[in-house]
Symmetry: C2
Subunit: 269 residues, 2 copies
Amino acid sequence: MKDMQQDDGNSAGAGGFEVKRGQARLKDIARSLNVSISTVSRALGGSHDINAETRKAVVEMAGRMAYAPNQVAQSLRTNKTNTLGIIVPDLTTYFFSANLSGFQEVAAEKGYNVMICQSNESYEEELRNISTLMASRVDGLIISLSKQTSNYDHLQALYKKGIPLVLFDRVCDDIETTRIMVDEHDGALKATEHLIEMGCKRIAHLSGPENLSISRRRLQGYSDALQRYDIPLREELIRHTQHLNRQRPGSAGAELAGAVFSARCHLCH
Amino acid sequence: MKDMQQDDGNSAGAGGFEVKRGQARLKDIARSLNVSISTVSRALGGSHDINAETRKAVVEMAGRMAYAPNQVAQSLRTNKTNTLGIIVPDLTTYFFSANLSGFQEVAAEKGYNVMICQSNESYEEELRNISTLMASRVDGLIISLSKQTSNYDHLQALYKKGIPLVLFDRVCDDIETTRIMVDEHDGALKATEHLIEMGCKRIAHLSGPENLSISRRRLQGYSDALQRYDIPLREELIRHTQHLNRQRPGSAGAELAGAVFSARCHLCH
DNA sequence: TTGTATGCGTTATCAA
DNA sequence: TTGATAACGCATACAA
């Protein structure tokens, strides 16, 4: 009464292998070959203690049925989703989408999927995003904080739970975790030195808003380069603009993501 | 021998409720209250046949333990992940990231997560992306095809499997599925009419590359508007540029996604 | 070499 | 009103 007609609606009629609805499972392959599920699992898993012919038959059948392991089931077993959660304030901002592009690219290389959320610069939404991603049991989080965020308890909580966390660009120094930031000072320094070495004499600096530390770090780099070459700093060559130019090549995100993965090697495999 | 010391490492020592590593589970709540797992499940699930006090205690404990249902386990049971897969050629292109932003926003509203892939304009990568997302058992796919893609068997296969599929912008007419496209003709027509109604007399048209049907549709809209107002078309006012201006407000994606969800209402709940 | 049993976290069914 | 059990798909420890 237990092994009779336990048809789950996923097998075809007499002798057919076709899986009518949905994806093929180990069970479907097992049935069509009259072997056990574990045999199929081992054959596909590359186990050594398995008959060569059995393996061949299983592999072939798996191909015919377009079998692909159910990541969801694997995740439940292993407690690992191979998915990273990324939270950015806004995806229409080039800086964030370019970085996302890089994160996604590197993640894919390492066999990770990427789940994306937007906080819309709202602290509340940032909290909700984290909850959602944690409910999906992502293996790690990459976050650029919302402008509203000034309380960091939610990040501290992640840290306590042992969730791998990486902050980028909009970071928070109070949290003990990997932070990824553009080296504004070094960038400005190198750019200025480059111009000097090209023979430029009067080099202007278009600065961002004065109140941002980013602007100050860039200005300092510019200033340091001039000093290094004994060129006097001339105030009239510095212009403070309202907007911060944060455009940068699409590869920037890839580099950042590279840093992520080298910093957090337990995410890599 | 069966119910002795089955400590899975997730419970704390004598009397403590703390879940040491990872997230709290129903089992953790059940243990700390000396009730069964199913009671806890029902209490949190809002079932009616449950003692009011029991529910109160369970809910409170769940809060204290920061319990959040394991989406992975739920997905395995229900065969539904509440996740959409999105494949775009490239995330650094504003058009795609702006649309992604809209898709994600609407998806989040409806309780869906979004998993993102980039094909890098490669047919092979597009295939891999689909496999990856299908392995993760996404509930549906939103795809903008790669430039390389000229064979549509992979889309046909999705259709056969009954996977909800939406194509946007880079669509393919051979597939029987929801397609989302910008109405280039109507946009150009309305824009031109607007200028005419503002009193403009000599209206120029900056067209994209002549070989693209998009360019032709826009030009036709421009042309039709002039004709509607009996304004002669003057060739010297038409300039063919090399680049296609596809910048558009971030809300475009939201509108598109709205179309997705209204077209595919079985995704909505 | 293969099969059986178990568990991952959750919920629905059935029994008490 | 509550508890025990089975099932989702997979992989592994154990038995044969």
